[in-house]
Symmetry: C2
Subunit: 101 residues, 2 copies
DNA sequence: AGCATATGCAAGTCACGGCTTGCCTATCAA
DNA sequence: TTGATAGGCAAGCCGTGACTTGCATATGCT
């Protein structure tokens, strides 16, 4: 039985998606086009708009960003709460082995 | 320019590797064969010994486990310190956009 | 209405990662 | 020394995921 939070870790596995989170950390609530432009100029990311859009879908599925529609704009907001579960998962309640007293 | 800590996130991306970390959290300092056995019995992981060994290599490269050789045994110890950087990376110092005051 | 802007959908390509298979090395016990 | 145990190395298969390309939809401005 594998865990059911794979989406979160999968989302963080891609370096471009981590840069997107970085961008939203610095400036929350950006649109797709804004993110594309900033990734290109500030981080030399040459991916297409569709590629970034797909990344945003993955991040949203992981619960790391929430979106808000307003007219033809779609604003992306960061939600870092899921990240806490990562550190908390492997808190040591270690029962040492005989070889490691 | 992408980040240089990709190994950490890549290591966490695989569900079997996360289970290995779970196992070491419960009982630190296990050998490869111990981990294989416990993954099989407790978590229904049917991967081969070589597969688990490769996973351990990835986790070690990510700095999440450290190994200690003793005779023909190799003990694997958890090191959760790299995990802190994940939560800390996206701490909000947000400059809100005009659309998100 | 007509056009530009902002985003969505879908199929196809291609490289990488997880896993297996097969064989090899090293340590310890009888 | 022989056999069993613990682990390592390398090549190959194969599915998944990141990216592109092409087209479609929707909103707003003039």
């Amino acid at each position: 039985m594998l865990d059911d939070v794979g989406d979160l870790y999968q989302a963080l596995a891609d370096p471009t998606r981590r840069l997107i989170l970085d961008e939203l950390t610095g400036r929350d609530g950006q649109t797709l086009f804004e993110i594309c432009g900033r990734l290109a100029t500030k981080h030399q990311v040459g991916s297409s708009r569709q590629a970034i859009s797909q990344h945003l879908d993955v991040l949203e599925a992981a619960g790391l960003i929430v979106t808000r529609r307003q007219g033809r704009y779609k604003f992306h907001h960061l939600d870092t709460r899921p990240l806490r579960s990562i550190t908390e998962r492997w808190l040591r309640s270690t029962e040492p082995t005989r070889e490691n007293p």
